[in-house]
């Protein structure tokens, strides 16, 4: 059984093509079922996000499976094969495993280390499992990939630090206020970043969100979208006085929040911190406001440079994450090989046990005088001897370092013990089994 992977991602295909090959927006279940009709794939998982569409298949005949999957993509998305094959990447076995582990770890994402992808990989596996398209191989592989994703997140800083301005602002707010529950937010001016920031703050459980704008309609629209309340523009100073977090994003040419204004309302010693996020250009808040003791003032450049720092810190963690992936790929390979050795081990054990039983049967007449407990004892002892003889070879076979060695070893064992693939063990020639070294000695 082999694992193959075909797909497109942001690295190989432009967004227009990715959109055409996307499964996530359409019925993923239907796609899995349609793919199941192709005969060569024993197990299939379809992983589809906005940045990638990947199909993992376990098959016996990789060439045929590849053709079938390509044909399926073409039919299902109603695209000629030539439209996407130049952008299609294809991996098999170890490289497919490595690819999945890198994806789950967030190493293959546009924003390295982003956390959503692991959930998406889990969902993809879940969907395939619900349609009974996963078997022992892909189950093991995907569960392994979840662990790799988790390991990379806990052991490296790959997913740390906010990598967008609005997330960076919320992360800072949490370091100032701890829990954001009950904190009052004032949003001044409606823009893209201020809207996103307000939405993230809402998602983090802030209390009231007040919105004000020179154009009341804008304020009302934003207030409605973040479940806030719009207040008149004239109440700006008062709003700043009662807020814990202020987000400003107006198109004003001159500062609308000044130091004098804040100090006139709250006095020189602010009891509680005030976090001002000024994402307007030109700035809405006088720089000296940041000198007030309990005021933390961040403008869009400050936040942007935090994002840059976080990004560069993430990229410095890539190497550690990659080495975790490499380690896990080789562990997975070892698991696969140990699994590959299983038929030989089973055959070997059956062979030994058959010899044991036939010897016991032959001696049955001599043993007939013994009490039943003693006979059971003899049976037990002979079984233990076989177990012990086979213990070390079994371990060795499971732990072989690479596939080539494994093939050589199983070949040798098959020959030495006359284990034949596909033949029932009971047919392995009777005569040979009967002449044991013990017999020869007796003769």
């Amino acid at each position: 059984m082999q694992v193959i992977l075909l797909g497109v991602s942001h690295r190989t295909a432009p967004v227009e093509l990715r959109e055409r090959l996307d499964f996530s927006s359409r019925d993923l279940g239907a796609a899995i079922q349609a793919l199941a009709l192709r005969p060569s794939a024993a197990e299939t998982v379809v992983l589809s996000t906005c940045n990638r569409s990947e199909i993992y298949v376990v098959c016996n005949d990789p060439v045929r499976a590849r053709e079938e999957v390509t044909g399926f993509l073409s039919e299902y998305h109603n695209l000629p094969e030539t439209a996407f094959t130049p952008h299609l990447f294809s991996y098999d076995n170890e490289s497919a495993v490595r690819h999945l582990f890198r994806v789950a770890a967030g190493l293959d994402s546009i924003v390295v280390g982003e956390p959503q992808i692991l959930g998406q990989v889990k969902d993809a596996f879940q969907a395939a499992a619900e349609h009974h398209r996963t078997g022992p191989m892909l189950s093991k592989l995907f569960h392994w990939s979840f662990l790799v994703g988790k390991r990379v997140r806990t052991e490296t800083g790959l997913g740390e630090g906010a990598v967008s301005v609005s997330f960076a602002a919320v992360a800072l707010a949490r370091k100032i206020f701890g829990q954001l529950n009950g904190r009052r937010v004032l949003v001044v001016g409606a823009g893209e970043i201020s809207t996103l920031t307000a939405q993230h703050l809402r998602a983090n459980g802030v209390g009231e969100i007040l919105v004000t704008s020179r154009t009341p309609a804008h304020a009302e629209a934003l207030a409605a979208s973040v479940n806030g309340r719009s207040v008149p523009w004239n109440d700006l100073a008062q709003g700043v006085a009662v807020a814990d977090i202020v987000v400003t994003a107006t198109g004003s040419q001159r500062p609308i929040v000044t130091r004098a204004q804040i100090e006139s309302v709250t006095g020189r010693h602010r009891r509680d911190p005030l976090f001002i996020i000024d994402v307007a250009v030109p700035r809405d808040v006088e720089a000296s406001v940041g000198d007030i003791e309990q005021v933390f003032l961040y403008n869009v450049d400050d936040l942007q440079s935090l994002v840059q720092e976080n990004l560069s810190r993430r990229s410095s963690e890539v190497e550690r994450a990659e080495s975790i992936v490499t380690e896990e790929v080789s562990k997975f390979g070892a698991w696969q090989r140990s699994r590959g050795a299983v038929p030989t081990i089973v055959a070997l054990r059956e062979r030994f046990d058959r010899i044991r039983r036939s010897e016991l049967n032959r001696l049955d007449g001599k043993l007939s005088g013994m009490p039943p407990e003693a006979k059971a004892r003899v049976d037990e002892i002979t079984r233990l001897i076989v177990e012990k003889l086979l213990l070390e070879p079994t371990e060795q076979l499971k732990g072989l370092p690479d596939e080539e060695t494994q093939v050589a070893y199983t070949e040798a064992i098959n020959r030495l013990f006359r284990l034949r693939d596909g033949e029932p063990i009971s047919q392995v020639d009777e005569g040979a089994a009967e002449v044991t070294p013990a017999d020869r000695q007796r003769k």
Partner: protein
Amino acid sequence: MNFLPLALYAAAVVVYAIHFAKRQPSIGRTATTVLLLGVLAHTFVIGMQTMEVRHVPFSNTSTAVSSFVWMLALSYLYLEVTTDERAMGVFIVPILVGLQTIPAFNPGVDYRDPVLDSPWFWVHVTSLLFAYATFALAAMLGLTYVLQFKEIKKKHLGYFYTRLPSLHVLDAMNSRAVAVGWLFLTVGVVVGVVWAAQALALTPDNSNLRAMSLQDPKIFIAVLTWAVYSFAMFARKTLGWTGRRAAWLSAVGFVIVLLNFLPVSYFVTTSHTFQ
């Protein structure tokens, strides 16, 4: 005997430092376990000493320091368990190690003047040691607040930013620690005054008791400590001295406490030397 807790506290410092740097939950749990073992060993040591001298050993500076360390360790463990916040360990456990070296290398015999055989003495010392332990916590919380504040205010989010709790949490814990410490300080001082007056009436010739006055540095500084922490609480409530100001005040308060606890106790005081 005080070496075993010292060794365990020192080991805990190392594990807390590794946890602070690497931020792995399993290392954090190990750190707590090692500290807990240290506290258990310390409890055993203090228990044995109590059996030996038949009173809780804190009549001389060395044994008092040992009891103080024990209380600080317990208070910190309480803080850690209730807040699930381990980042403070790397700041507080070194204090345990630093102070525990005193009883470890200079055990001293806990001989007790018969005049101290009073439950009031026990309340007086326990309250004050506990107050000092919470002031130590408050000071370290204040110190970490200042570190965190600096990084956020200056927009250099670095080493401490990711590791320390939020400013709000640090400030709230500092405020609570100062309040609890102040309460016990007040109880300790009041009980001390009442009990000294009673004892002096019974044994008018005792030189220690005769020296009990505000002119004695130990008593004067204790009152000064009380004034500093009273002001800290008053300022927080009415002047809005939260955050950095409160943090510095609690640090200053603890420096005074340490000064009173060690050099003054060893060299200067005339009233608190019941040996």
